[in-house]
Symmetry: C2
């Protein structure tokens, strides 16, 4: 007998990117940074601090929140931190959505949003992206529901402007609007600067991508004091000590090291532009990306087959089976040499009759 | 406007033990271990691993689960791990309790259980402990509800026997029974050995106390494959990468270092017996404890006043305002010298007219 509540018997959980251990891959499938975290973050995890793992972390995460607040020009009371941005998204759907406050988000976006809705019984409506995969701002005006938009969107890498976000915020003042900025640092303007103006705005972000701390588990949110208080209430009703002691230290050092951040960010942007150019030269359609990944397809082969061919050659990328995007691959931007290897591999595959490949996954 | 769902407007969150930073205290208030984690656990967090924080952790936590399984003589499929045992308790109330499966637990126990129930709208019944603070096993037979019992119980430190747990499991075969073993390693027989026999048993435990990793955030559960699958489903529907990479390594090393574990455990048990004797000599009533804390009171002063007097003298203990236990203090067992300091301080206070103190908190 399973003992799990019957209401979850047909629920589909989220499937994270695979982490195979059968061999060493060039790993371009989960949007991690190819660069380690700031040297200052790595130094912050020293032997004395490791010894102190016997002690609970500060549940208020006071010092880290102060540093984040300073970086974004807000007050500590406008900052919430937790165990990865997924944790914060989870709190949002649990705490801020209900019978009256349903949710809307694009049909093509982070696949976890509908999972949360199903878990908590939150009704949701998926709004189709336009044909060019952009978010149609008119579709989100006066929707009488909480709005969730990833900017840039995943897995497309496309952005919406702050002016469009403002229009959405204006027309839904009684509803919360969550902007998921996991990938914002690779070339999009952050909505955090609108927080003072809109009490219904919740910006969620992460240290997993541009701060190279995916393994540390650290996400943050910036919003009005009232929204932050709501998130705190949910955290203190589920798991108050949610962040590892060492991660609190590493996160603080990482957010304070603007120079290193800028350096990594620029390298990734440059490598993205290189990758886009090289893929296009080879006939790929590449959606213009502002993230640390590109979303690309080749007309001559379906996404599932190309994914398999690349995996066979030791390169892991991400493929989604959803109808509208099943021809595409999401390819994380790694180091320049990793992307060169990807392009080389594509050139090798092009010489085989494989690009008419029959396998699918 | 708060935007938090109206259903949470009167919800009371959990209050963790205070972590004041105004001065250096002897910290006997959150049941941390006074000893650092196993040297092998500390070594596991080396510079190379820290560099790899750029990568996500293994969401299946495969190697850690294997080590835990080996230690408890079960299969990996019987082991679940997550971000602290609070995280697992949270999953239990969210996933395994509902309209039909309500919950019962003692009136005096870990104060987080009713918080989870209120969060998820789970109906619960608090069953009064007997006058001597023991769990009356008859009260839990055939209750037609999920049963949650901490063994040893907190904050009393009292235990129930495996025979009693068996009776509860037998009489509630269609309901899950969660045994919270956060403090089991300080002298109680673990119910994990019953997992093969009872598919309705879920044992929850933690690395925060006997494994000295409170700051690492690591809890585990041992249960039937079906219950573990249910917990996995909830984890993959909320936050799949729930454990820090470094904690996965430290936890594995800690669970494999039986010798160091045994050494720390024995020291804490000895110090607990010392503390109990010394408190009793000074007129305290001390509940016989099998945990890494004692629950004690003095007739001449209320718990709140004594808590304040000790805090003034630099010693932090925990006081609960709940009616039945408001005269007691929960005192974590620290190092021998910390407990000697506690006793000394009590002797000093006894010379003041304070033990008739008027302050309350």
């Amino acid at each position: 007998m399973s003992f799990l509540s019957k209401k979850y018997s047909s629920m589909e959980a989220y499937t994270p990117g695979e982490q195979p251990r059968d061999k060493k891959y060039i790993k371009l499938n989960t949007n991690e940074s190819p660069y380690p975290a700031s040297p200052k973050a790595l130094e912050a995890i020293n032997a004395n601090e490791v010894k102190d793992l016997r002690l609970y972390p500060d549940p208020t995460c006071s010092e880290l929140r102060e540093s984040i607040a300073k970086r974004y020009g807000v007050e500590k009371e406008n900052v919430f931190v937790s165990n990865g941005s997924d944790d914060i998204l989870n709190f949002f759907f649990l705490g801020f959505c209900d019978e009256e406050k349903t949710a809307v988000f694009p049909d093509i976006t982070y696949g976890f949003y509908p999972v949360y809705c199903n878990l908590y019984g939150v009704k949701y409506r998926e709004i189709p992206l336009r044909d060019d995969f952009s978010v149609g701002v008119e579709d989100y005006l006066d929707v009488k529901a909480n709005v969730v938009i990833a900017n840039p969107n995943a897995p497309t890498g496309k952005t919406i402007s702050l002016d469009d976000i403002k229009r959405i915020l204006e027309s839904n003042r009684d509803y919360a609007c969550l902007i998921d900025e996991a990938y914002v640092d690779f070339g999009t303007e952050s909505a955090t600067k609108l927080v003072g103006e809109y009490d219904n705005l919740l910006v969620v972000s992460t240290f997993s991508k541009s701060r190279s701390l995916a393994g540390g588990r650290l996400g943050f949110a910036i919003a009005s004091r009232e929204i932050i208080e709501g998130l705190e209430k949910i955290k203190y009703s589920t798991n108050p000590y949610s962040i590892n002691r060492l991660t609190l230290l590493a996160g603080k050092a990482a957010i304070e090291d603007e120079e290193y951040f800028e350096e990594c960010r620029q390298k990734i942007i440059e490598t993205r532009e290189y990758t886009t150019r090289e893929l296009e030269k080879r006939g790929f359609k590449v959606i213009p990306s502002k993230a640390n990944f590109v979303f690309a397809k080749l007309d001559s082969i379906d996404g599932g087959s190309l994914y398999l061919k690349l995996k066979e050659k030791g390169i892991l990328v991400r493929h989604f089976k959803k109808e509208r995007i099943k021809d595409y691959l999401r390819i994380t931007i790694g180091k320049r040499e990793e992307m060169e290897k990807l392009i080389e591999t594509i050139d090798i595959l092009a010489q085989e009759p494989m690009l008419l490949g029959e396998e699918t996954i």
